[in-house]
Amino acid sequence: MTTQYVLQAEDVAIHYGGVKALDGVAITLEKGQIRGLIGPNGAGKSTVIDAITGRTRLTRGKIVLDGEDVSHLGAVERRRRGLSRSFQRTSIFGGMTVLKQVELASYKMGVEDPIADAHAVLEELNLDNLTHVNAEDLGYGEQRRLDLALALVGRPKLLMLDEPMAGLSVMESLDLAQHLKALTSRWDVSVLLVEHDMDVVFGISDVVTVFELGRAIADGDPASVRANPRVREAYLGSAA
């Protein structure tokens, strides 16, 4: 039986003049799978997300989403096909209420009942008691969850999370991570997770890819990656 991939990124390269931000990266994601991306700062993790979502133009390579080559499509078209993301820095609509923006995102995804969908997503992320609050008046942790809610509406096929735990306390991170794992499993969403919190990455990922200088240096299940001497030397060090 052949494996059904939600995402196939093949030979992806992004060069800025002589600087190779990504060079020949290949990543796959199966349905419902969570893949953690780790590596030191500047390794190219966020650039991978930018390349897949269409935020950055590819120098070379191909992005295939659920069997369709989306390399030539812009960010808007890719989102409409189920490729969603959150940002390293919280990215929400500050002047709009929580419900209004999530409902708008849901509407743009072509959901039949955007209000019901928005309420469902907000409930999942424990934001249902803040629906009429302006986003700029939310606390930081609430804003992070709102960012996630915007990415989750319309039940995307593939969700890319760029350091979703940044700025959260240890307890908040672990709580959000477990919640995320349960939610994506229930909704059958594949996840590409860039995160510096090793407990979170190794705790919820099915597979882990390690980046260094724009290239993947290791790939496999969390235990084998954690034990990989090259990974320990390049990134994990004593944290492993």
């Binding site: 709009m96 708008l104 008046d137």
Partner: protein
């Protein structure tokens, strides 16, 4: 606020306009009021652009003046009846602005302001030099017909009638804008204004709505231009000058853009301020400038923002509250 409540408030505002003319105000003061209302509509156009696109235009006088020139040229050449010429001119302005908007709204911040300034000043120079069509720097008289929409010119040009026409139009334009901005289009443009990149990543195409807002704001400014040409019966390159755009922008900043009524309040305050100064009006810009600095320092969201802050404070007390609209 519900649509019913907004409709009621609009009807009340129209009634207030009719009430004002019953107060026995002198014709000269009524003339000042009419000019204030014309500029209030102009400021609404500039305000909509700032509110929905977050963009500052230094060249909206282009659409204010173009409406006057459009009417003047069409009526001088007798191409069509004035009743038809008005929508034709406004439609042409909106289409022109939309096409220009598709290019310039992609440019962020101050660069957008400079582009609008450049385009506006190009129009100013063209109008100043094309003597054969526009009368050059002397301007052109607008040959309004003897009757317009069934009313004789003499009846229409009475200060009371002109004020009421302008006032009712201002209320109607505001009401229509409120209705438009409450639709999905309003939410989409707000989202783009707040965070264009995030908007793209929830599936919103960002250029078209921004260009549409630019066209809408030009259309509203065009209405003010047509009214002004009816009020004065004259249009000159001065109507296109960047300083007209700048003064209107000041009105918008003073009034605030959080609510659509802000630019209207800003325009009325500006004209009343100028009128109250009387013979000291030659220094009006310096004094208005000082008032502007005070508003920016003490209430960055303008008069309307200050009033809203006061309302929240009175309702919830001095402790900062999570604001719900």
């Amino acid at each position: 606020m519900t649509l019913t409540r907004i409709s009621m408030l609009s009807l009340l505002a129209i009634a207030a306009g009719f009430g004002t003319v019953q107060l026995g105000i002198s014709s000269s003061l009524l003339g000042v009021f009419t000019q204030a209302v014309v500029y209030a509509i102009f400021a609404l156009g500039v305000g909509v652009l700032l509110r929905q696109n977050g963009l500052v235009s230094f060249g909206h006088a282009l659409y204010f003046g173009a409406a006057g020139y459009g009417m003047g040229v069409i009526l001088a050449l007798d191409w069509m009846p004035a009743e038809l010429a008005i929508p034709v001119v406004l439609f042409a302005i909106a289409v022109f602005a939309f096409v220009i908007g598709l290019v310039i709204v992609r440019v962020p911040g101050i660069a957008f302001g400079m582009l609008t300034l450049a385009i506006g000043q190009m129009a100013y120079l063209m109008a100043s030099r094309a003597r054969g069509i526009t009368g050059g720097s002397d301007g052109m008289r607008i040959n309004w017909p003897a009757t317009l929409f069934g009313y004789s010119e003499s009846a229409l040009l009475k200060p009371v009638t002109l004020f009421l026409v302008a006032w009712v139009l201002m209320v109607v334009v505001t009401f229509v804008l409120v209705c438009i901005l409450r639709t999905r289009f309003g939410s989409i443009t707000e989202a783009i204004r707040d965070n264009e990149e995030r908007a793209r990543f929830i599936g919103i195409t960002t250029t078209m709505p921004r260009a549409a807002v630019y066209a809408l704001s030009a259309f509203v400014t065009g209405i003010a231009g047509v009214l002004s040409s009816l009020n004065t019966g004259f249009v000159s390159p001065e109507n296109l000058h960047w300083s007209v755009s700048a003064i209107t922008l000041l009105m918008v900043v003073v009034g605030g853009v959080k609510r659509l009524v802000g630019p209207i309040i800003g325009a009325i305050v500006y004209f009343l301020f100028k009128d109250l100064l009387g013979e000291h009006a030659t220094h009006s810009m310096a004094l208005f400038g000082a008032a502007l600095i005070a508003v920016i320092v003490f209430s960055p969201h303008g008069i309307v923002g200050a009033l809203e802050h006061l309302r929240i404070r009175l309702r919830y007390g001095p402790v900062a509250q999570r604001k719900t609209p």
